[in-house]
Amino acid sequence: MSPRRPGWWRRNAARLGLMAVPAVFFAVFFAYPVAAIVARGLKADGGWQPGRIADVLAQSDIRQVLWFTTWQALVSTALTLVIALPGAYALARFDFPGKQVLRAVITVPFVLPTVVVGTAFMALVGRGGLLDEMWGVRLDTTVWAILLAHVFFNYAVVVRTVGGLWAQLDPRQEEAARMLGASRLTAWRTVTLPALAPAVAAAALMVFLFTFTSFGVVQILGGPTFSTLEVEIYRQTADVFDLSTAAVLTLIQFAAVGAILALHAWTVRRRETALRLVDASVTARRPRGAGQWALLGGVVATVAVLLLLPLAVLVQRSFGDAGLAYYRALTEADGGVFLVAPIEAVGNSLRYAVAATAIAVVIGGLAAVALTRRDAGRLVRGFDALLMLPLGVSAVTVGFGFLIALDEPPLDLRASWILVPLAQALVGVPFVVRTMLPVLRAVDVRLREAASVLGASPWRAWREVDLPLVRRALLIAAGFAFAVSLGEFGATVFIARPDNPTLPVAVARLLGRPGDLNYGQAMALSTLLMIVCAVALLVLERLRTDRTGEF
């Protein structure tokens, strides 16, 4: 091996320093609580009980859960790809009036809280839902409600990840293949498809990850019949109080998520290999011929039925026959559901989300800056992967882990309001890193060098060159972190205090109660949550210029 370049330590000291803050944050607020809950479950009589794993796996109902979790995730992923890939193509290659609106509409569901998605589908296909009223069709007792909700939720992931790249592929590459004698189909198959394949794989893995760990949607739509790992972990912890089974399930989910993330990192690296990318605005053109117009029409119809209809029904149900009665009921603290008026959840959610966003932006921003340089070693790549883990590790486990791990000095936070934003920030950090990193990496190092030769110190060069270029990305990252923490459910449901519920927690509690009034209030509260998230997203869309990011 060649010796280390001179000044290696000096140049890397800054980076190691930047990594220290996120590393400590993750150690204390992620690794420690998760480890604590696993230890609580697997330790008995002062010793480890690895035999518990085999015991749990031997139970047929647990095997049932594992099987259901896997196959519903596979089917959801396949279904999402089939339905969303034409949309990716249409948005990448066609130029038509209303394209920006369509793009924004597609993205809204992704930032919607899972609880809202669950409630919306409940209003569409559930008991007393639109389909029930019109044709007497109910899907909430079947797996279809879950699958459709998953497609709804992940449509944007595929369109953004695949379509973003598709729009930037140079069409002349295909033209070059045609000039060399390839038919239209052969040219697509041999030139475009291989270039797209890593993006399709990355999108599929993300969808698989989100659906494999699905909680809010399944909790609401699954009923007693269908249960994913995450729902089962919640049931074992909160209802059955069987911590050791929950710990084993957490470990299984951890291993599965680790494998999916490793695969994802690998496909992302392949995606970054040299592709000829061009400005997306030059590749799109008007659809030509009946076939292309029909395809575009099909995409618009799909979006209308699958994405817009559930949200429209949700809004309609929130008014019901009673006008604004449900909304008015939200302001009254009469039901036994809460100690306070449900409307106060709006204020709680916003306060928590602001704090969580600040934490996520600081932690994720520092991590992204530390990871900017591409000549990263194994250590840095490992750090990159570590930051992605909260995306898939059971949020329920994190929430419950907070309760049992952060309960003694110096970290006695159980009574503190900061507990909720901390847990929500954990989920926001991966989004911040993923949004900031591509932009930071795209800043030409020679711009920094030009500043330095003109007399700017490294810190000054960063402030003068990098910061202005990434300010927009920083805002977008903050917006995502905000939306994510508004919608966070799995961890918050454990740690939000009964007198301080967040919006999703309040919705879930209302749905868990019988009666039209509770149902209507859940719809109304979901509508409010949806509006807050949609507004946040539309503001982001205006800020966003490049569409190469994953989210």
């Binding site: 030009a450 500043a451 330095s452 030769v453 003109l454 007399g455 700017a456 490294p458 060069a461």
Partner: protein, 361 residues
Amino acid sequence: MPTDSPMPVSSPTPADSPTPTGSLLRIEAATVRFGGRAALDAVGLDVAEHEIVCVLGPSGSGKSTLLRAVAGLQPLHAGRVLLDGRDQAGVPAHKRGVGLMFQDHQLFPQRDVGGNVAFGLRMHGAPRAEQTRRVAELLDLVGLPGASGRAVAALSGGEQQRVALARALAPSPRLLMLDEPLGQLDRSLRERLVVELRELFGRLGTTVLAVTHDQGEAFALADRVVVMRDGRIAQSGTPLEVWQRPADAFVARFLGFENVVEASVADGVAVTPWGKVPVPPDAPEGTRPLLVRPAGVRLVPAGEGLRCTVTARTFRGTHVAVRLQPENAPVLEAACALRDAPDVGDVTGVEFDGAEITVLG
């Protein structure tokens, strides 16, 4: 004159211990390795104050690495860089007080023209009024008066180049370095700008170290040309010296000469594959590479001299380059006037002019 007013920006001038030679820049045995390959291999170079030195070499010869090493952007594995006699080891790029104009300019996209030019002045804490005055002065100097408020994205290639130059000049660096300064521009603009640059640097008394792969650019710009090959210096001299007496076959071929062969030289005559040719009386003797400039290949009627067939002719504006294929010998290139040029396929004779022949080292 901008350099007359001492800027608050230049590094402290060394009052003590200047190098005995008085070089502004001295590079001693500088070595940089990428992996196992040496991008700079024990390079030594001196640049005197007010001198314009141009490093010439093919891509990959290490010339850009040399500039980056002087700027402090590329750490050395061995050797030293001295500015005003002071070792720059451990001095970060932003404290070296040198200017570097990047190959593709690297203007800051989020700032306008004035913001780019003022950047170095701001970094050195120049007062705002001073910045405004100096920006206007420099934009005048590079021929873009009043462009201060324009967006850099709206500039043409030539204008970007001028802004980059103004930005590099603004803090009055003691040494200005240019990396392929005109590389991105089209030919006619390049030829005009190189003359302007030389005139400007002469007027300002700027010390310049430039790198380029274009010999025409180097010869037009430089007081002294340094030819690099594989991380080493192959030759250093005035443009005329390098042109007239290339140090070796590599330099001769890099300058565009094709008539280079091995020859054995003795008593004012060289034995070559083309036969015996006359060489200057002071030529070194022995087996050496020998260069025949195209002008030294004289076409004579067929039957006289070396018998050749014309394989190609290329119009070069002032003359015609003629490719000649002798029997059993390497191709020859000749330069002749348009009206004398033979047609492709003609058979002609060739004689050699000793004044245009150089025996290489």
